[in-house]
């Protein structure tokens, strides 16, 4: 990747307003490798694949099309840290390009606000840009504080990998990209059962108990594998495993105590960024995991 890499930055609603510490970590890492992020003025919800796509494909298509045209005006590919946004924007972008009827409909919806989809940009997720555009070699060169001895279970997020006909960045059943991004920090990734299991998050507002039961299955397997922490590439999965972990423990009268990191947080720590600079505000205590790699807060 050249020095001139520029992307239209699409953090998504959850990262922007609920987990800005993820955005802080993303920006620290991307900035260190000369990636410039351009603000997408006026962007809306991507919109999210469960509550909008699930209720109306047409509405989902229209809002996604509008967001895509904002990046088209900037003449930059979109970069997002959220697999949900990635899935929506990538699916819409690909659909409009390949299916004339979808494109026609998108432009009908856009005509009311004087916008037009032209099909000039691509959509990327941070995992792919870090792993394959910046590359593991460059990342390795920036590690100042190797996280040796830290045992990590990785969780990708369904929409980063599936449907694979759409994303195609890694094997949906045996993914390796995130594992390699973790290994580059000096940490070890541990194999564990149910690695590609969904977090259950999307159905939390429909059936909380079932949503939690799915997350429980993963947390139990991570614990059995003896991992020090779980590293995720999706803010929605992070909410489910971190913010909801205590509620899940209560629901099933169990204890997991599994710290959860977003992948760029781990990379920042290994690059020598102080924890307070990127917030690292988590619900499940992370101190034990940090102490293991000799990082102390404050």
């Amino acid at each position: 990747m050249g020095q001139e890499a520029k992307y239209a930055w699409f953090p998504g609603c959850w990262v922007s307003n609920r987990m800005p510490h993820i955005e802080a970590a993303d920006k620290r890492v991307l900035d260190a490798f000369g990636v410039e992020l351009v603000e997408m003025k006026g962007m809306s919800c991507c919109p999210e694949p469960y509550a909008v796509l699930g209720l109306g494909r047409d509405a989902w298509l229209g809002l996604a099309a509008r967001n895509l045209t904002i990046a088209e005006e900037l003449k930059h590919d979109i970069l997002t840290p959220c697999p949900g946004c990635y899935h929506t924007l990538k699916a819409a972008n690909t659909g409009f390009r390949n299916d004339p009827s979808q494109r026609r409909r998108a432009n009908e919806l856009l005509s009311g606000i004087n916008r037009e989809f032209k099909g000039q940009i691509e959509v990327e997720h941070t995992v792919n840009v870090l792993h394959s555009k910046i590359g593991l070699e460059k990342l390795a060169g920036a590690i100042k504080h190797p996280l040796s001895g830290l045992r990590v279970a990785t969780h990708y997020g369904c929409h980063l990998l599936k449907p694979s006909r759409l994303t195609g960045i890694d094997d949906p059943e045996r993914p390796m990209m995130l594992d390699e991004l973790v290994q580059v920090t000096g940490a070890e990734t541990v194999p564990y059962m149910r690695k590609t299991l969904c977090c259950g998050g999307p159905i939390g507002s429909v059936d909380e108990k079932t949503s939690y039961a799915i997350a429980r299955e993963k947390l139990l397997k991570v614990k059995q594998a003896g991992a020090d922490c779980l590293v995720v590439a999706c803010p929605a999965c992070m909410i489910q495993y971190d913010a909801n972990q205590h509620s899940i423990e209560k629901t099933f009268s169990e204890t997991y105590e599994i710290p959860v990191f977003y992948h760029t947080e781990l990379l920042c720590l290994a690059m020598g960024v102080a924890p307070k600079e990127i917030g690292v505000l988590h619900q499940v205590k992370i101190d034990k995991a940090l102490e293991r790699v000799d990082i102390h807060r404050n």
């Binding site: 307003n17 962007m43 919800c45 509550a51 969904c198 299955e217």
Partner: protein, 170 residues
């Protein structure tokens, strides 16, 4: 056209029928389904079977279809390459049109329709961003987002469902 007729028309369309009717009920979709694993009455194979057999009313009024997380494991693993999870999205769309939307999901969708965001900016998030030296988030052009959703008939559908639900309760 009523939602049930739209579903019938979709399933009975030549190309679509070809896609669905090749299901030989092996149950791979259900075997790999994260929801079915923890909740035995959720069974994507059976939902597919019900639709193929033409019991459209049963499918559209089902609460169970809303449990699909859209993880797309079934789509990846189906030996017949049936896109089960995409079909479930179609089913949810028709069910929604028919007034079957779970209450909290309806609220979530309404929030997006009104604000253009799934989690709107708050006083706390503004302060938090400042502390992390992040620039303020560019405000959503709500009127543009709303215009598009309106053209797609989204807020009207949500409103119809809400008033139907109120009618049932009274």
């Amino acid at each position: 056209m009523a939602a049930i007729d739209k579903l019938r028309a979709l399933v009975e369309k030549e190309g679509y029928r070809k896609k669905l009717a090749i299901c030989y009920q092996c149950g791979t979709c259900t075997g790999g389904c994260p929801v079915a694993y923890v909740k035995s009455d959720y069974n994507p194979r059976r939902i597919l079977e019900t639709a193929i057999l033409g019991h459209y009313d049963e499918v559209l009024s089902s609460d169970l279809i809303w449990l699909c997380t859209s993880c797309h494991s079934c789509l990846e693993r189906c030996p017949q390459r049936i896109e089960v999870s995409e079909f479930l999205i179609d089913l949810k769309n028709f069910a929604a049109e028919n007034g079957n939307i779970p209450k909290l999901l309806l609220e979530r969708a309404k929030r997006i329709a009104e604000t253009g965001q799934s989690t709107p900016s708050s006083k706390a998030s503004v302060v938090w961003r400042e502390k992390l030296n992040l620039a303020p988030i560019s405000p959503v052009k709500v009127e543009e987002a709303q215009a598009i959703l309106q053209a797609a008939g989204f807020p009207a559908m949500l409103e119809r469902t809400r008033s139907q639900a109120d009618g049932t309760r009274s």
